[in-house]
Every structure is written in C-alpha cells, then in structure tokens.
Symmetry: D2
Subunit: 359 residues, 4 copies
C-alpha cells in the first residue's frame, strides 16, 4: 500500500522463484526510483514473498518487498499496477507474456533468451521451439548498453543479454572493432558459477555433486553460441563462427571467460591494452585492468562491472583476453535494471551495485 508521496515507479517481476528473481529483489532493494509492485509465480501464488525468502524482511524496501503477496501472472493485473515488468521465466514462456504486456503498454525487460536472436530460424533451431512473436522479435533491442544504449532508451522490449554472451562480447569487442585479430580462429572458454545452472532441484546441482569438483558441460551445443556469434559478427562486420565451451565452477556467482585469438600483426600487450582502454574510455561499467593484472571473479562479486585483462603471447602470436562478470548481476538482473533505467528515463547506473563483496 504505497502512500501518495511515494514517487517511485512501480515495476513487476514475473517469475520470482529463480536466482535471477532473487537477485532482482536485491538490486531493487537498493534502487531509489523503482518499487516492486507485483511479483508473480504460478507455483507460489498466495504466499508472502518473505515466506519464500526470509531475508526479505527488515526496514525499508526489504521489508516492503517481503510483505508483497505473490500473484498469478495476469497481464491485466500487471498492466494495471506496473509501468515496466521484468520477465524471469524460462524461454518460450516469455514470448506470450512479453507480447501481452507490450500490447497493454507495459515496458518489458525479458531476461529469457526469447528475443535475443534476430533470426527467427536460428532461434527455432537452437531452442527447438517455434517463435510465435516475429514482429516483437524484430522490434526487441539487445540490452547491452555498451553497444545499444541509444536504442535501449526508446525500446518497448529489451532482450536482456545472456550471462556468457555478456562476458564474451565485451571481451571481444575492442579487438574486433580495431581489427586486431583473425575472425576465423576464436576460442571462447567460459567457466560459470553454479547459480548459472538455476534453482531447479536436480541431482547434478546438489552441493555434494558440485563442490570440490569441476567439469565441462554441453560442449558444442550451448545455446549461447548463436547469441555470441550474432553480436560478434556485427562487431566484426563479417560472419563469425567460433568455438564456445562452458564449464561449471564450484562457486555461487561469477563467470570468467578466457578468449583465445590469433593476432593479425605483431603487437605487444601494452598496445592492445590501449585499444581496450580507448574503446571503454567512457564506459563506467567496464574496467580494463592495468598490464600485468588479471581479473578475478570475486572482484566483481555482486556488482555490475565487467573486468577485462589482456595478454599477448608474443611467442606464438596470440592475444588472450580474460573477462569476468557476476553472472547474476551484470549477467542478468543488474543489467536488466540498467535496461529499465534507460527505458524509464532514469540515470543509467542509478541503484546498481558497484562495490563488490570481498571476500
């Protein structure tokens, strides 16, 4: 029951039971201009949010969110209560909900993969399901601010980038735009924290299956491959097919992506670092590390930063790029709130977490 003097903009969260939903409540708890007005879940409707998440309790926005009653995802209800909605539901499910909300004048940030691939056929091939909203697909804006900031401001629907793609695209962009590397010999070796596997009860995600271990998974088949290739090809101005591979880390949060490229011409680390620093000069949320420093996932834990380190292996003519993000914050819910900020005319970084939890 907001009072009249509450000028915060009401937003909704469709799908509250996963880690991206939880993370969104964390980000919103610190946001001065947004107010969570609806939280929906088919399975948990009727419960107080605080009964699902006991940590949503206390003074201010925390307790306010905890007091919300979870509702069924009804587009009319959401449209009546919210200016903007975040969709934290599985792909495929998001298609219809997004359409229903946009139709009712609600701005939408979709955290699923449903509107990330511009090519309907590519989506249908990799996700093995039809896309029923081709018009909206054409209209959706890929929500990576370092590339699409201006389009995001005018968007009705933002396709929030995937976690791996965020790290890979930001890592490759300067090298590709500056034409430093060959585009036919790119290997992207990514390692993700286990929140990336979602909050579904599955034996493979149990503590005792994941902890003190490490494995690769989904090799050659990960659905973020076409997403990365789409954006990287646009940056390189030529079709790029690359090797993208994923591993599961026994940590909660964080993606580290090691990118192997072949240099077109001999160049040293300092020079490459200059290219990266220049490209990201005006970008507050990308930190290009000094020569000799390499990123660590803990340095971005809980934040919006993408930290990037570059190293030239002069002996063999390769450029190695390391980029890290927090997969839940920059790689999902934080970036979604950044998108919302832009759509709603708020300052881009407003309310976003910047100080990492170290250790």
């Amino acid at each position: 029951m907001p009072n009249m003097s509450d000028t915060r903009i009401p937003v909704g969260l469709v799908g509250v039971t996963g880690y991206t939903g939880i993370e969104l409540t964390r980000v919103l708890a610190g946001h001065p201009s947004l107010r969570l007005a609806r939280a929906t879940s088919r399975s948990e409707a009727g419960k107080k949010l605080s009964s699902l998440y006991p940590f949503l309790s206390g003074p201010g926005a925390l307790g306010e969110m905890g007091g919300l009653t979870v509702t069924q995802p009804d587009p009319d209800d959401i449209a009546g209560a919210c200016k903007l909605a975040f969709l934290a539901v599985p792909h495929k499910t998001a298609q219809e909900i997004a359409a229903a909300l946009v139709e009712r004048g609600v701005k939408v940030v979709d955290l699923s993969a449903d509107f990330r691939l511009r090519d309907k056929a590519t989506y249908e091939k990799w996700y093995a399901t039809p896309h029923t909203q081709p018009g909206l697909l054409a209209e959706a804006v890929y929500g990576l601010p370092e590339i699409y900031r201006e389009k995001m401001k005018k968007a009705r629907l933002i396709a929030n980038p995937g976690c791996y793609p965020t790290s890979a695209i930001l890592g490759l962009m300067p090298a590709l735009q500056a034409g430093l590397v060959h585009t036919d010999d790119i290997v992207v070796d990514s390692k993700s924290g286990t929140t990336g596997a979602g909050r579904k009860a599955a034996v493979g995600s149990l503590f005792c299956e994941v902890s003190d271990s490490f494995k690769a998974y989904n090799l050659t088949k990960h659905r973020h491959t076409p997403e990365i290739e789409q954006e990287v090809s646009l940056l390189a101005k030529t079709p790029v097919a690359l090797s993208f591979n994923t591993h599961l880390l026994p940590i909660n949060r964080g993606i580290l992506t090691t990118i192997y490229t072949r240099l077109k011409n001999p160049v040293d680390t300092e020079a490459v670092r200059e290219v990266y620093a220049a490209r990201y000069a005006g970008e507050d949320l990308v930190r290009v590390l000094p020569v000799g420093s390499l990123p660590e996932t803990r340095h971005v834990r809980g934040t919006m930063f993408c930290d990037i380190g570059v190293v030239v292996d002069e002996r063999i003519g390769r450029l190695i790029i390391i980029s890290v993000i927090d997969n839940l914050c920059r790689g999902a819910s934080g970036q979604a709130v950044l998108g919302a900020n832009l759509m709603l005319g708020l300052p881009e970084k407003q309310g976003l977490p910047l100080a990492p939890l170290v250790p």
Copy 2:
C-alpha cells in the same frame, strides 16, 4: 561372472543410488575378501552400474562392479547370489527386506534406522511408522564394535549405527563409564557435512543454497536423539535425556560433535585424557589426541577413524569433548563393512580405509 578360483565372499547391496551406496562400492573396491554380486535399485534396475557411476570403471574390482547390472530387489535372487546383504534403503523399507533376507539365511547389515532402537514404541513414536518385525528388532545387534564386538560376531542382523550417534557415543563413553560427569547436563552440538542430507534432489541441498553458508536444522526433533540416549543410558547405567542438536556444514564429508558436560569433581585435561586413552587402548579405530590437539574432520576424511580431543574448562568445571568421524565411512558404509567382516569371520579391519585424503 566370477571364475572358480575367486574365493571372495559374494555380498549384495540393496539400494545403490544414495551416498551410502556409493561409499559402499568404494570400500568394497579395496576389500580383498568381499565381492559385490548384486546391486539393486527399483528405479535404476536394468542399467549397468558404470552408467550410474562412471568412476566404477578400470582394472580389478572397480571395473568388475561397474560391469554389474542393477537388479530389482528380489529376496530370492539375493539369497541365491549372496551370503550377506547391506541395506542402504530408507527406514521402514528396510524392515520387510531385512526379514525376508534373514529368513532365507542371508546375513544382513541394515544401514537404515529400522533396527537401532530396542524399544518398539520409541521407534514408532520418533519415526511415525509401525514396526512390523518386533522379533527381529529384539534380535538385532547395534553395530558399534567398541561396545558390541562380540555380539556382532554372532549376529544375523546388525543395525548399523547412525552417523551422529557414532560420534556422540564414542565421545561420551569413557567419561560416562568412568563416572566423570553429571548425566543430567549433557549438550551434544553436532555439525555434519552435506552428504548427511542424502542424494535426493531438493532445493535445500543445492550447491548455491548450502555453499558459503551454515545453519542449524531439525532442532529438538532429530531422530538420532533416542538412539544416542539409548546407548548413552546403557553406558551410564541410568536413564539419560540430553540435548542433541544438528547443523549443516558446507563440506561433503565429516561430522564434528562438540559435547558439553559438567564435571562431578575437579580434574584436569591430562587426567581426563588418560581416562580416554585407557578406555580406547585396544581400539585401533579410535584415536585419542594428545593434550593440546583438537580433531579436524579432514584428518579422518575417507577413513574409519574416530578422533577425539578433550579439554577441561577448569574455570567453570566443564569437560568439553570433541569427536570427529567421516559420516559416510565410519558413520555408515565403512562401519557396515566392519560389521560384515565380524559376521563373516574375517579380520575386523580387513579392507577398511585408514589413510585419510589430506587435503
């Protein structure tokens, strides 16, 4: 298909899908006199064991076990193939299977709780289910070798002790038998690794819910309470009601139990340590640490040891006892194999893991 010269004794494992089942295969892989002849699971029957557990592959017993086909738990089939069976199924389920096997002349080590409590009513109250085998309950031997070694040798059915009770009973025994402490003021504060929660797919056991966190659970209601009280009362020769409480550690294996007692008479740490060393003088699997040393779960990781440290807090007249075990090995499958060794006339420690994996 064992060859004729294989003189190992065939044993069966009823219930192969949990962590105690996995651990049993590990212990059996190193056992010179036992051969896994049957592995059963209602849900996985028909599969090769190696398809469930890819690590059961390679030379010798490892590959031999991996090549086994999982079967339905059929008492006749087990009785035809095995001299002894380990039951690694949930409580209640074990009652009928144990009876069917014992009836067919198969020795049984039951890892469930079904035959641990001597009093049928106590069982039925704490486990909220009827006990259908009161005769067998009366006959079953509680499988803690430091107390019941001789009875175990002659048993048809061993009730393998619970993990927490193993640590608590071994920790309290010398103090109680020597009459060092009051029996009406005992607090048992236990902390267990997450394998103790089992291998069921449950959100609460996911890596991201358990790692980097710690919590108490089941306070005042843990079903190991009556089991501990039963054995401790026998040791103290008086009914003991104690405070038993459990916590979940973000580690795979290991239980550390901190026991708080009140001394009857002033005594120093060295004297108490003498009492403990004397009680366990002939016991190879209990290590009483030197004064000034405290046990760590990693020092018993993967082994049969119970390490015990004692400290007298002279300022307040309390004796604090710390005991650690590996909950899967000493606290479950390893102790079960020890029981089998005794029942089958093999040397007590044969094939049991003693060298810890450190780190």
Copy 3:
C-alpha cells in the same frame, strides 16, 4: 582532492590491510555522508589503494578510494584531515593511536579489543599485555547500539564490539533481561567464517587446510570470553561465567552462535519468541524469526542484521537460541560505521548494507 561542494565528512582508516579494512571500504563506498580521506598502513604506505585492492576502481566513491595514496599512521596528519578515525589495527597497537587521536579532537571507533573490557586487570590477564590508557578505558563506550545507543551518541571513543560477542550478547539479552533462564548453565557454541582468522599469511588459513574441513579451536581460551561475560553479567544483573567455544567454518563470512540455556520455568517456543520480539520491537537491525524458522548465515551475508531464532526443547527444559551475523559487517566494520553515524549525528542506519547477497 575533494571539491568545495563536497559536504561529506572526512574520515580516516588506520590499518587498511586486513579484512576489516577492506570491508570498511565497501561500506564507505555506499555511504552518502562519509568520505575516506586517509588510509594508513606501515607496510604499504606510498602505494595507491587501488594497487592493493584492484576492485577499488570505477565511478564515484569506489574509484575515489582507489585513488588514495596509503600513508604512514601519523596522528597529526590524520587529525588535520579527518573528523573521525576507524582503527583496524591489532589490539595493543590501538591503545596509543586512540589516545593520540582523541587528544587531537578526532573521534575514534576502535575495532580492536583494546577498549572493550571495563576492567583493566581482566584486559591485562586475557590479552597478556599492559593497558597504558586507563583513563580512556574508563571513558570508552561499548558500541552495541541495542544497549548503548544513547551513550554512543556522546562518545569520543567507541570500543567496537567483537564479532562473537555481538552474536552472543544479542542472542542472550532478551532471555536474561526477562529472567527466563538460569545464569549458571549457559553454553555458547560459536562457529565463524574464516575471515575471522584475519588476512595474515599462515599455513593454517590456507585454502587447502580450511576447505572441506571443520574444527574447533582455542577452546576455553578465546579472548572474547571475558567480553561476553562482562556484558551478559550486566544484562543479568549478576556475575555470569559461561562456556564459550569457537569453531572455524569453511566459509568466508558469517557467525552462527548456538546458545544452550536451562529454563527456569516451563514455557513454550511461542512465548519465548514473544519475549524476543518485544525486546527487539524497535530495533531495525535485529530480526527475530517466526517460530519454525532458523537463521542461516547467508541470509545476513554482507548486511547489518542479526537474525535470531529460538526453540524450546520441552522434553528437557532447555531454551536453544541461534543467532547469526556477518562477522565482517555487523561483527566489525559495519557496526563501526553505525557507531560513527551516531557519534557524528547522522541517522543511525545511514549507508549501512541491508540487502544480503543471496546466494
């Protein structure tokens, strides 16, 4: 080089190389009214703070702090630049620095143990070093807001409470003030994350010595014992000697304290919970959980909250209290900033982290 329109209050941090120093920079990064003007370290003086902590980089206060040059701890220099200083140095070292700063009109929040014990002799016995500032010792205010809020507002020197004592005192307070429990039978069993062991290079704190393990340490000798007893005795209005014992958790942050008490009269969990809720009714930073809920360290990760759960074991007449805090935030640097807020006339909770990082 702050500009003239920067109205934030300049503060100093004496001792920047430990985890409490790092945590203080995190809290200050989100504080609207405080500005880090000095950061000192004998060993690191001359370096940029960002070269020690690469994550202190980026827009706003983060980058501002990273740009600071670490200085030698010179009281005159600090007094010239700062209104208040946080001391994050070892005990004993803090005595002289605190005195020098207070003398120069700088308000001080001391995170060490040097001014926590009111009795000089007790300090000298447990810390095995003389106390050279008895006058200041008498004046210092113990910085637990739930007890000393009003005194803290007027203090020149706040003795920031220890991490374990914060959890133990807040856990015991309502029961003692309401006279629910006997004061001669209290066991405090605490478990702390490894940041509590500090950032000193020591084999015992290596990842491979701590991870996947658990141990007790320092039994009967922990220096937080007299601190807890001092405050608990004041609350109980009678001298209390209790059993306080500590364990090391393989997690970064978090203390969970399990407190065992004996009830004076039969009472159920709901009634005890009422007593706790009433005592903390006006306290935003203590959350008394609903009956049936138990605290978890992750629910307070990175925050100022103390979460408390109570359970009556009616069978044996005991009250068990569980309290959790983040040892670095509520248990150290966050509580220190709260103290600074009060001393400087700022709103008590201003700038303090409330939304936990989950997972």
Copy 4:
C-alpha cells in the same frame, strides 16, 4: 625399527612439508612392498612425523610413518637406509641431491622440474637458474608410463612429470600420433585445484582469497609450457609451439584441461573416440569415456586415473579434448610411486589408489 621378517623395500622422502610429501605418505600407507624409512626436512628435523601430521597415527603403516623422526637431508644417511628416494623439494634444490644419491647407488624419483627438460638451455631459460648436472639430465627418464614404461624400468633417475603436462600430454597423444589435428593451432586451457599452488604461507593462497572465486594466472609464462611442448613435439614428430594457460580452481585437488585443436579432415566424435580407445587399449590408468560423457575431477579424486573425453564440433571443424587427473596423485606423488614400482621391479600398479573418494 623394522623387524627381520619385514621384506618391504625401504624408501626415503626428501622434503616432507609440502602437499606432495603428504600425498606420498598417503600412497605409501597403502603400499604392500614399500616402507618409508627416512623423511627429511631442513626446517622440521627432529620432530616426529605425527607431530607435523596428526593423521599419521593408528595401526599399521600409518602409525609406523607417524613414529618416524624427521631428519636433515643427508645423502649418506639416506643411502645407508634406503634403496630409493623421492625428492619433493623445489626445483634447483633437487639437482645436487639427486646427483649425490644416484652416485651413492640410490635410485631417485625427482618430483621437481629439474630433470624434465632434455635441453639444458631451455631449462635455464624458463627456470632462470643454471643446471649443474648435465650428465644426469641426459640420463634421466621422463616418468610417464604410457610413453616411457620400458625406459623407466631401467632408469636410475626418473623425472616425474609435472601435473599439467601429465593431463595435457595424455590428452593430446592419440590425436597427434594418429595425425588427426593440425599442430600449429593447439590451445591448452588448464584449471587446477589449489594444492597446485603449494603449501607455502602466502596471502594469495588463503581460504578467503581463493574460495568462491576463480582467476587465471601466469598467462604465457607458465614453466610447464616447454615441458608440454617437448613431449608433444616428440609425439607429433615435428616442433610444436602451443598456447598453454592456467587457472586456479577453488577446490583442493584436480586438474581439468580443455584442449582445443583443429581437425585436418572431417571426422565425427565416435571415430575420434575409437582412436583414443585404441591408443589406450592396454593402459589401465587412462579411461576414455563413452561418447556423450565428459570427465569430472571428482571422478578421479585421490586416484591414478586420467579420464579423457572427446567431442568434435563439426560445425567449425574442431576437436575438443578434456582430460582430468588428480594433480597430487596422478600428477605427482602417485605417479612417482608408479615410477618407483617400475624401477624396483614391482608390479606397475602395486599399491596405487584407484577407487575415487566420491563425493
């Protein structure tokens, strides 16, 4: 004081304070034909081994080793007491000790890098120290049984392979020997558990710096690079320069190496898997996983196995190879004992751990 009927062969361990030293005691504890007769350490001489490692206590070889008194590393003393010595000392230190022992007729397995590189100049360049034993360098046998088994049997000095090289070489061997891949486009992306960083007290190896984080380190400069290139070039029969890069995992044990290669001709995963299975057909300690399975470090925890999985990315013509080992066992001390077995005429796999600790 071994009795006369003890026919085990006495061996020595030079350098007992690191993780490879600890691991060697674990492997020897289960070895029927070797007896630890000497354990040396400059810093710990005079102490009982059990006072360094409390887990070396109990019945049999465990307690026997714990009872050993650590000595200064004296070649005459070692030669008098041992037939073979394991050197677990840093590189450079091993050179002189190895020479002194070989001279005295003691067989040596050197776990350092001192005798791994055949080319003196390459050693001196990468390790930045002179090699003073060129003769012994020429004679030493690289201790990877899958390549050098026969030479190892006759060796006086075995250079035990590095952990990363073991995983990389075994992963690449079949593809290179079968000529499946181009040799000028190989990327080796390795991730190691933290025992690989050693047991030195260093802030960077503290639990709170490593846990819940992930980073790359030493890029383009890791000293295992020339070791891998040396053996891979021999296998490929052409000089190979490759990209080798390392990352630090928050786990105790385990290396997972992801190898990216470019196929010469189109071929599917099944066909590559056949090549691998054929190459390792007689090798008990390499397990080539079925198509569709990928290795996990936990499946080899504590064992001698190298598990390998292969995947062809037909879309882009690449072969991806994943190999995992336990860096302490197969990657160091276990492989060293295998070398000792061969040198001493014992069965190759005698006493080696095969059953993994899962979980």
